[in-house]
């Protein structure tokens, strides 16, 4: 019996433990399920450092595609006191779910400093605000 339990635990940890993987574990923001862009975030890598929270976000674009960009992955910093956000890392892809090689990848404050600005998002009236609300709770 003990042996069975031991092997079961080892199997479970090896199969499901996210700690040993360098891949994302995306959680869909349910409010975006039927929107033109579905938004996901990685719960396990929402971290607080100094005054800000940092998190990874994936957006799947389902309509009105610009330049055949089907998805974007960004690393964002959030000020939960002011509901403002800045994108630090940006990658876009010509496949959904951030698959394949990125079409464009950059560190925003390095490449386009003018775009590295705080943007306010209403928690009740914007999709990004909904994400921000979940991150900050």
């Amino acid at each position: 019996m003990i042996k069975k339990i031991f092997f079961f635990i080892v199997f479970y940890l090896l199969t499901f433990s996210p700690v040993i993987s360098a891949t994302f574990n995306w959680t869909l923001v349910p409010e975006t399920r039927n929107a033109s862009s579905q938004v996901f975030y990685d719960k396990k890598t929402v971290f607080s450092s100094g005054k800000y929270l940092y998190f990874w976000q994936l957006a799947n674009h389902l309509e009105d595609l610009d330049d055949d960009i089907y998805s974007t992955i960004t690393h964002n910093m959030v000020n939960c006191d002011t509901d403002e956000l800045r994108v630090i890392v940006y990658s876009d892809f010509k496949s959904p779910m951030g698959r394949g090689k990125p079409d464009l990848e950059m560190i925003v404050p390095e490449k386009i400093r003018d775009s590295f600005i705080w943007r306010y998002f209403d928690r009740n009236n914007t999709i990004q605000g909904t994400v921000l609300d979940k991150i900050c709770k």
């Binding site: 069975k4 940890l13 929402v46 450092s49 100094g50 690393h75 990848e105």
Partner: protein, 138 residues
């Protein structure tokens, strides 16, 4: 059988409860001159496009300046060239990222001249060895 079910449930809770906003530091090593002690967060290691990204913590053990006992940073590595760039810098007045914040900035924004690719030998340098671990994490 019931026992297995409860054990399964127990481990599910252990591995799925969200750790949002809590780092889980793994000690890596101490610099040869014993000035810095390095940690990294395994679950923060993520591959995006050409690079891997990860969070580190360094405790300053000697020559403490400006009351800065530890720093937390988000770093990126090019695993083909063993070069790194450091993106964020947050200093604390206690070890292990505790206490008050002494400095908090985005390096490419506030120190663009310092935001450049830097090579670390994976065998001969402490930080290079840490990059090697990050690059080998699949």
């Amino acid at each position: 059988m019931k026992k297995i079910f409860y054990i399964f449930l127990f481990f599910s809770f252990l591995t799925t409860i969200t750790n949002a906003a809590n780092f889980n530091w793994t000690k890596y090593s101490i610099d040869e001159d014993e000035t810095k002690e390095w940690y990294y967060d395994k679950k923060s290691i993520l591959k995006v496009g050409s690079y891997k990204f990860y969070w580190i913590l360094a405790n300053n053990l000697k020559n403490i300046e400006d009351d800065e006992y530890s720093i937390i940073g988000h770093h990126m590595v090019n695993c083909d060239t063993f070069e790194t760039k450091w993106i964020t810098y947050t200093g604390y007045n206690s070890p292990m990222g505790r206490g008050g914040v002494t400095m908090d900035f985005i390096i490419p924004e506030d120190m663009p001249e310092a935001f450049k690719w830097e090579y670390f030998d994976p065998v001969d340098t402490i930080y290079g060895g840490l990059m090697d671990i990050v690059c080998k994490t699949r």
